[in-house]
């Protein structure tokens, strides 16, 4: 329930009836953007639980088969094992890309939603660009997801299949829509009436908003510091080790040294795990920080009491800290840390879903007020 004084509330509602009207660009981008993020996060959690580790094990087994085939001098078995490795890596890569792109398009949709009052186009035009953006934001990840399954079936091109083509068209839609909004912003900055644009979202100084802003900034800062540390301490070491271990593996296979091959395979698995958890922790903490800061702007639209808004902001930040931390600890504590990371992901999804429902309630209040007699 909205706990603001009735006069302020009605003033706020009246203002938002225009900027947040049904099927307005802002409403489409806000609800569509959060939906994209929720779908992307849910997909990521399912992927982490049911696909990621199993796929990594299959890659490891295929690499081992390739190395042992090389020891046996079986050239064709080596090539067939590497074809399997390629297929498993493509499966993994396209699913990670789907997860990342759908979430990032959601973020961008929310940012564009905030900027809508400053885009100097007619509402109908802004709405068309919002639909184009959302269409592209769905088409690209769906196309990327299907790349592994569709392959080059009926493709007119040598190395790019239909799924990739549709994904690229989706990307183009997003670029066109974003460029159009940029043109609208530019037009706004050139116009004389730009000072008159007022937006209630910018005036919010609620406790939940402040909590999300400061928490988000700190998460991003920690993520940047961790990224800088990773680049300085691990990146080049990992790259050198990747090449060295594979060289030892190939040399061991050529010398028919099974012990050396098995040791190199174990080292390679350890290296890939170390690299994966560090990169995943870095990207997740920054993404969650950015999302916390974006969600801060939409707190006036979340139709819950301030206490509940604070609780959901707290749940969101708790999950955002726990997930990267547990991912980092996965190499030491295995499934326990992995399970906790998945639970933390669920906390973030729950908090975001709650905010989405709060915004949906707000649209209900707005639409009811718009339909009510003066």
């Amino acid at each position: 329930m909205i706990k603001t004084p009735s006069s302020t509330k009605s003033l706020f509602l009246r203002h938002d009836m225009a900027s947040f009207a049904p099927l307005s660009a802002r409403r489409l981008l806000v609800l569509g953007g959060i939906t994209l993020i929720l779908v992307g996060m849910f997909f990521g959690d399912i992927f982490a639980v049911f696909v990621l580790h199993q796929n990594a094990a299959r890659v490891g087994r295929s690499l081992s088969r390739a190395a042992h085939a090389a020891i046996a001098g079986d050239d064709s078995a080596v090539r067939s094992s590497f074809q399997d490795v390629g297929a498993f890596l493509e499966n993994r890569g396209t699913k990670v890309d789907t997860h990342v792109h759908v979430i990032d398009f959601g973020y961008l949709a929310l940012l564009l939603a905030i900027l809508q009052p400053h885009v100097a186009f007619a509402e109908s035009r802004k709405r068309r660009f919002a639909w184009l953006f959302l269409l592209g934001g769905v088409l690209l990840p769906v196309g990327v997801f299907l790349i592994h399954y569709v392959g080059l079936l009926y493709s007119p091109l040598k190395s790019i299949g239909w799924a990739s083509i549709f994904a690229d068209v989706g990307g183009l839609f997003v670029i066109v829509a974003t460029l159009s909004y940029l043109a609208g912003l530019w037009k706004h900055f050139q116009s004389a009436e730009r000072i008159s644009v007022q937006d209630e979202l910018m005036a919010d100084r609620s406790a939940s908003g402040r909590m999300l802003l400061v928490g988000g900034l700190l998460l991003v800062l920690v993520g940047f510091a961790h990224g800088a540390y990773y680049a300085a301490a691990d990146l080049y070491r990992h790259e050198a080790a990747d090449y060295t271990i594979l060289s030892h593996l190939a040399a061991g296979a050529a010398e028919r040294n099974t012990v050396a091959v098995d040791q190199s395979l174990a080292d390679y698995g350890q290296l890939q795990g170390d690299k994966a958890v560090k990169i995943a922790a870095h990207t997740h903490i920054i993404e969650f920080g950015l999302l916390a800061m974006i969600l801060m702007f939409f707190q006036p639209y979340v139709s819950f009491s301030e206490t509940w808004k604070l609780r959901w902001a707290g749940v969101f930040l708790l999950g955002s800290v726990m997930l990267p931390l547990c991912v980092l600890l996965e190499l030491q504590y295995g499934l326990l840390a992995g399970g906790l990371a998945d639970f933390a992901g669920l906390l973030v999804i729950l908090a975001l879903l709650a905010m989405w429902i709060g915004i949906l309630r707000y649209t209900g209040h707005l639409d009811a007020a718009a339909g009510a007699p003066e």
């Binding site: 800062l221 050529a254 950015l290």
Partner: protein, 163 residues
């Protein structure tokens, strides 16, 4: 709207478009070929080992290392440009809340924008030049972003205290 806010918003959207445009170009014209090169060179390296041809194995693995080095940097540049662009836009939207003078706000915005532009550019240039200049550019870019962001965090905390 202040100059700092304008720089962050317009610069952020322009960087997002640059990152997306680069990603689209890369996906259409380069990514598949590069992934094929990674897979093929690795397979040839082990096939060389199977044939006891250590020279073929070694040269193929060097090709694999080069292709992977380039692929990872291309993807990193694409991802970081877009990620940093979003950060610029978010900060730009709320930048008026910062408890600093307009001059300081503009300097911070400039530092964030330059850092967000230079860091992925430095990473990308490493695919063309393995020398110290691209690496220095990437380090400078990341330092500009981190220092400015730390100052922005303090600025938001100051504004919160003052209100």
């Amino acid at each position: 709207m202040s100059g700092a806010r304008r720089l962050l918003l317009l610069g952020g959207i322009a960087l997002a478009i640059l990152g997306m445009g680069y990603g689209l170009w890369y996906a259409v014209f380069a990514e598949h070929q590069e992934l094929q090169e990674i897979g093929a060179s690795l397979a040839t390296g082990f096939a060389g080992a199977a044939q006891r041809n250590s020279e073929l194995a070694q040269t193929s693995l060097v090709r694999y290392r080069e292709a992977k080095y380039n692929y990872e940097r291309q993807v990193d540049a694409h991802g970081h440009w877009i990620g940093l662009a979003m950060l610029l836009m978010i900060l730009g939207i709320g930048f008026d809340r910062l408890g600093f003078s307009e001059r300081w706000k503009f300097l911070l915005a400039l530092s964030l924008f330059l850092g967000a532009l230079l860091f992925p550019l430095g990473v990308l240039l490493q695919t063309l030049n393995h020398g110290p200049i691209p690496r220095a550019l990437a380090i400078l870019g990341s330092a500009l972003v981190i220092v400015a962001l730390a100052a922005v965090t303090i600025g938001f905390a100051r504004s919160r205290t003052s209100t």
